[in-house]
């Protein structure tokens, strides 16, 4: 028996029988607790509806009364071969976000198609979503064969149809199987009603599905989740998303590229003294060098060939679940593993109506339930991989307002033109995007920002005075995430050095928006950086107030009151 459970998801158009397949499977294999069937029969009687196996999953009153699945159900099931986690996804377009939530972690998917009605809108949409979620192991269940008198000809016709549209998506089903879930035909064993079908029964098909190849074999990726300093020990907390990590390994931390060594793993209880950890484990690292680390940085093994990309532009394939359309120029929160950056839509390359798989004529917006190819520009450098190489660091979600409204994968590097925003400092090796020359205006009850664009090479003179700012002629700009300090002297851009070389600054220090870092001998830069390591939502405002002075070089101008 395999040790870990296989995650599978049931998808397909509404009413094609996803919940019925699972309900019947649980019933037929005796997997239900005593009384469950009786309870569901009682509910059916009370509501005056015929008994449905689907009620075993559709637990909400609204679901049972309307005969639909609203939200995903996750349940566990076991065969003689192994354990399963089965996810029942809703089929209504309205609840696509729930389908995506349920399917996102599946290793295999069963696409259920009604034998009489054939391929419908959500059949196509769900298949497209499976593709974007990176699920390649797809089985097609042609259900309700009882409605077509168990005829082979109808099965073949539907199969051909499904095969054709999957092909347009670049997908191939592992197998096609005729089923009548309600009557249990071909469920646990081959049905005498369909002697023409000689393939595997549903449960045999299930048992033949393969678990994901574990990501231990891939190069190390460990996104930093938090930095703990409960006592003298400094612990870098995170989950190993790929690869393995041992005490003594040399590591590189992105985006800065700093290198150090793992000296140990934190342990509790104390008697566990593991020297090695692998993908999937939540760990705490002790490092040789006391760098200032932050959530969102990605740790790799220095010796491994495959290292992530660091860039401020990414090209993505995404699905959109927002009520408000995604539009060019708008900014969203983009999250990859524990990284979170602000991302602006640079360009929409292609929009597809996932319901009919046709490209839309206009690329001016991505609407609810569409899929699209979109290029984003991020404010801070982003560390990522291509999805085919690394799953966790090759996929992302977008947050608009309070909710996740989109997600997708990164499959190629953007080759088109870039538009860098704000003040771009270029030292010949790297570009740094800053917004220290922006102007601020009070307009009624809010403050407006007016970005100032500019490109600056080494020795270039800088616009140190603007409408609402005035900088001295000599200062440093700190970029902790990149581990860099930019030096300005005599009003010119002089050099970029690593943070370690500038830990005791003798000139005023500002951050990327131009706020002065409040330092004095009692409050050295090291203390600022150390406090920043453990910053979170509840402490950040106090931290900013303690350390940053925006008014030192800025004045908000009144536009309208």
């Amino acid at each position: 028996m395999d040790e870990s459970a296989l995650h599978i998801v049931m998808v397909g158009h509404v009413d094609h029988g996803k919940s019925t397949v699972i309900g019947r499977l649980l019933y037929s294999t005796g997997a239900l607790p005593a009384g469950t069937i009786d309870k569901v029969k009682r509910i059916a009687k009370e509501t005056g509806k015929p008994f449905e196996y689907a009620y075993l999953l559709d637990a909400f009153e609204e679901e049972q009364k309307q005969g639909i699945t609203i939200d995903t159900t996750r349940l566990q099931f076991k065969t003689d071969k192994r354990d399963y986690i089965i996810i029942d996804a809703p089929g209504h377009q309205e609840f696509l976000k729930n389908m995506i939530s349920g399917a996102s972690n599946a290793e295999a998917a069963f696409l259920i198609v009604d034998a009489a009605r054939g391929v419908e809108e959500q059949t196509k949409r769900h298949a497209y979503i499976l593709k974007l979620l990176g699920i390649r192991q797809i089985y097609v269940l042609i259900n309700k064969m009882d409605l077509v008198d168990y005829q082979e000809a109808q099965f073949n016709k539907v199969q051909q149809h499904v095969q054709d549209f999957l092909q347009t998506l670049g997908l191939t089903a592992v197998s096609y199987l005729p089923l009548s879930a309600y009557y249990g035909e071909n469920l646990l064993e081959n049905s005498p009603k369909m002697p023409w079908y000689t393939g595997k029964s549903f449960i045999e098909t299930l048992d033949s599905a393969k678990a994901h190849k574990t990501s231990e074999q891939r190069p190390l990726r460990l996104p930093i989740q938090d930095v703990f300093k409960f006592d003298d020990q400094r612990i870098i907390a995170g989950r190993i998303e790929a690869g393995t990590l041992n005490v003594g390994d040399d590591i590189t931390i992105y985006p800065s590229g700093r290198q150090t060594k793992v000296t140990g793993f934190a342990q509790w209880p104390q008697d566990e003294h593991l020297q090695s950890h692998q993908a999937g484990e939540s760990v705490g690292l002790l490092l040789e060098d006391e760098f200032f680390n932050q959530r969102g940085e990605i740790i790799t093994k220095t010796a491994e060939n495959s290292q992530p990309v660091v860039d401020t532009v990414i090209q993505t394939n995404l699905f959109w679940m927002g009520e408000q359309p995604l539009v060019p120029g708008k900014t969203y929160k983009l999250k990859i593993a524990t990284q979170q950056v602000t991302a602006r839509v640079l360009k929409i390359l292609k929009v597809t109506d996932a319901g009919d798989l046709k490209a839309r004529q206009n690329n001016d917006q991505v609407r609810l339930n569409d899929v699209a190819e979109v290029v984003f520009q991020t404010e801070q450098p982003l560390v990522y991989d291509f999805f085919n190489d690394q799953h966790v660091t090759g996929r992302f979600v977008l947050v608009d307002g309070y909710d996740v409204t989109g997600g997708g994968t990164i499959t190629e590097r953007y080759q088109g033109e870039r538009e860098l925003e704000g003040a771009v400092f270029n030292d010949g090796q790297q570009q740094y995007q800053l917004s220290l020359f922006d102007n601020y205006y009070l307009n009624g009850d809010h403050i407006e920002t007016e970005a100032t664009e500019g490109q600056y090479a080494l020795t270039d003179e800088l616009p140190l005075t603007g409408t609402s700012y005035h900088y001295p002629t000599r200062f440093n700009i700190i970029l902790p995430r990149q581990n860099r300090v930019i030096s300005v002297d005599h009003g010119r851009f002089i050099k970029v050095v690593s943070l370690e070389e500038q830990l005791t600054p003798d000139v005023p220090l500002i951050n990327s928006i131009g706020a002065k870092v409040k330092l004095d001998p009692q409050r050295p830069l090291k203390a600022f950086l150390a406090e920043q390591e453990t910053l979170n939502d509840k402490t950040k405002t106090a931290f900013y107030q303690k350390w940053l002075d925006f008014s030192a070089y800025h004045q908000v101008m009144i536009k309208e009151i």
Binding site: E3, S4, A5, P33, A34, G35, K39, I43, E46, A59, F60, E61, E62, I70, D71, T72, T73, R74, L75, Q76, D83, I85, K97, N98, I100, S101, S104, N105, Q225, D226, F228, F230, Q233, I235, A237, R239, A266, Q267, W268, P269, Q278, G280, E281, S282, G284, R295, M321, K333, K335, V392, V397, V399, G401, Y402, D403, V404, G407, N536, D537, K538
Partner: protein, 266 residues
């Protein structure tokens, strides 16, 4: 990694996400097996620390063993323990005889909502599991409650790839469910493996044991001879009786738990 290793790693990840991303955080500790496993996982996630308060909603109808166990463990582990009772409802005469849903509503749901607002919690870690009952099988790991403590269960936001909901209006709070994917059997196998200290009401005495702990008047025992963790594991592998069969409030109405949970029950 085996199944239990995977569950443990996921729960630790969730606890750390909650600690990093939510503002004021508390852990709802019912003293039962699930929330005591949560206590253990918290110590694992934060290397022996318990960096947020533990909350016990005391209905005043608790079993005496529960209170005794709570106080001794809290003292031993030096927990920041908040004990909260909806005293107003008790003063007004609330008790199980007035109806179980009404009683759970006042002494648990309302009390919980009161403690959330009293301490202005942004996040509440709760030990519910998907396999317990229907409405929990539909839960998210980070599940938002409104300022009125309502769960908008027919319109839950997407949750994928462990990118949890950490953005929400002030006044709302997030219920964090680190044990959502665990089963009852997983809990016991973990207790066995880690030697987690657990209250002994779960172990059989005179042919009966508690399988799920609630208030004294509303928690029934099940017939069992399982008096060790291993015997409980063996028993669970064979049983077809549901875990909450001894919990009276579930039997009141076909949608009892959905209704309770919609208005803020754990």
């Amino acid at each position: 990694m085996d199944r239990i290793d995977e569950l443990e790693a996921e729960s630790i990840y969730i606890l750390r996400e909650a600690y990093k991303n939510l503002g004021k955080l508390g852990l709802l500790w019912s003293i039962g097996k699930d929330s005591t496993v949560l206590l253990w996982l918290t110590k694992k996630a934060f290397y022996g620390q318990t960096p947020f308060p533990f909350i016990h909603v005391d209905t005043s109808f608790e079993m005496p063993e529960v209170i005794q166990y709570r106080d001794s463990l809290a003292k031993e582990l030096n927990l920041d323990l908040i004990v909260y009772t909806n005293q107003q409802a008790l003063d007004d005469g609330m008790n199980p005889k007035l109806g179980r849903l009404a009683c759970c509503g006042a002494l648990k749901t309302v009390a919980l909502n009161q403690v959330v607002h009293k301490y202005a919690f942004d996040g509440l870690i709760v030990g519910v599991r998907q396999d317990e009952e229907g409405s929990r099988s539909k839960e998210r790991i980070f599940s938002e409650r409104t300022a009125q403590d309502k769960w908008d269960y027919t319109n839950q936001p997407p949750e994928l790839w462990d990118e949890f909901k950490t953005d929400f209006p002030k006044g709302n709070h997030i219920r964090v469910h680190p044990l959502l994917h665990w089963t009852e059997l997983d809990i016991w196998e973990y207790i066995q493996r880690e030697n987690v200290p657990i209250i002994d009401l779960y172990f059989a005495k005179n042919g009966q044991r508690y399988r799920s702990l609630g208030c004294a008047p509303c928690s029934g025992t099940v017939p069992s001879n399982a008096s060790t963790v291993q015997e409980i594991i063996d028993e669970l592998k064979e049983t077809t009786i549901s875990e909450r069969a001894g919990r009276a409030q579930d039997q009141e109405d076909a949608y009892a738990m959905q209704k309770l949970r919609q208005s803020g029950y754990m």
